[in-house]
């Protein structure tokens, strides 16, 4: 599995300046991390507008609380945790009815004429996106952080404030659910 660190830029000096109240330094951090945080948040909320709102709110909260950031973890870990919490706050406030993965995902695949064994990249991508969006929130965030964003298990577990064992369990269940949902789009996977 490929793991990818967030921006490989030495941000320690920027964080130190921001903690001292330097807004320009914090703005540099915004430029470094805004797109990545948005990418994570976008998959945890329902639409682009919410993603922008949550991303902005996360940075505002980070700026307001930067003095409390002790540096025991990396800055991006702290920032992502704020972003994930903001996204959860929004979705729980909305109290959207929980859609079961089966309801959400299986029907479009089954509605295709005949067994769709021919893999088309866009079909697979869309099926994956639907599958991820259909996951329960407690499974979706681990999968987004680990498998899509490429963070390590340790980093993602810290962001979600989970033990590594709990994180791995949720990740595994999420992967199985996604795999079941996109099985018809993967070549040579007749396993039922």
């Amino acid at each position: 599995m490929s793991e990818q660190s967030p921006p490989a830029v030495e941000d320690g000096a920027l964080v130190a300046r921001a903690r001292a109240g330097d807004l320009l330094a914090f703005e540099e951090l915004v430029r470094l991390y805004a797109d990545r945080l948005h990418a994570v948040v976008r998959r945890l909320v329902d639409n682009e507008h919410e993603a922008e709102e949550v991303t902005q709110e996360a940075f505002l909260r980070a700026w307001r609380g930067i003095a409390t950031f002790k540096g025991d973890s990396q800055f991006f870990t702290w920032l992502y945790r704020i972003g994930v919490n903001e996204a959860h706050r929004l979705t729980s406030r909305r109290r959207a009815p929980v859609t079961s993965l089966d309801e959400h995902l299986i029907e479009p695949a089954d509605a295709r004429p005949g067994p769709p064994r021919r893999v088309e990249h866009d079909d697979l991508r869309h099926a994956l996106e639907r599958a991820v969006q259909g996951l329960q929130p407690d499974q979706r965030a681990p999968l987004v952080l680990r498998d899509i964003e490429g963070l390590s298990t340790t980093q993602a577990a810290v962001i979600l404030d989970l033990s590594e064992a709990a994180f791995k369990s949720r990740l595994h269940r999420a992967r199985l659910a996604v795999r079941d949902a996109v099985r018809d789009y993967l070549p040579g996977d007749p396993e039922q």
Partner: protein, 100 residues
């Protein structure tokens, strides 16, 4: 080969089958020790359903990784954040996030 293994050591075969299904993600993520890895590899060698299960999960995880970077925001995210930041009256205006 699967039938032979299942007939000769049915309990062990079932245990290994369950173990493989439960630990498949840890296996793919390289988080198992050599004994557990060997156990899964031996079992998948003898059990075609588990081999297909593992292959399907591997392809799923690989495909998920390719979604990275495909969510392109419509507008500059950082511009929106910076505009909100510059409207902030001060740094003490809201609840601080938990220290980490």
């Amino acid at each position: 080969m699967m039938m032979r293994a299942a007939l000769l050591h049915p309990l062990r075969f079932r245990r290994d089958h369950r173990f493989t299904r439960m630990q498949a993600s840890a296996y793919l993520d390289g988080e198992l020790g050599p004994d557990d890895r060997g156990r899964i590899e031996s079992h998948t060698h003898m059990c075609p359903p588990c081999a297909r299960f593992m292959a399907g999960l591997r392809r799923t995880v690989s495909a998920l990784g390719k979604l990275r970077g495909t969510e392109t925001p419509r507008v500059s995210v950082s511009d929106g954040v910076l505009a909100r930041l510059r409207d902030e009256p001060d740094t003490d205006g809201g609840a601080a996030p938990p220290p980490v």
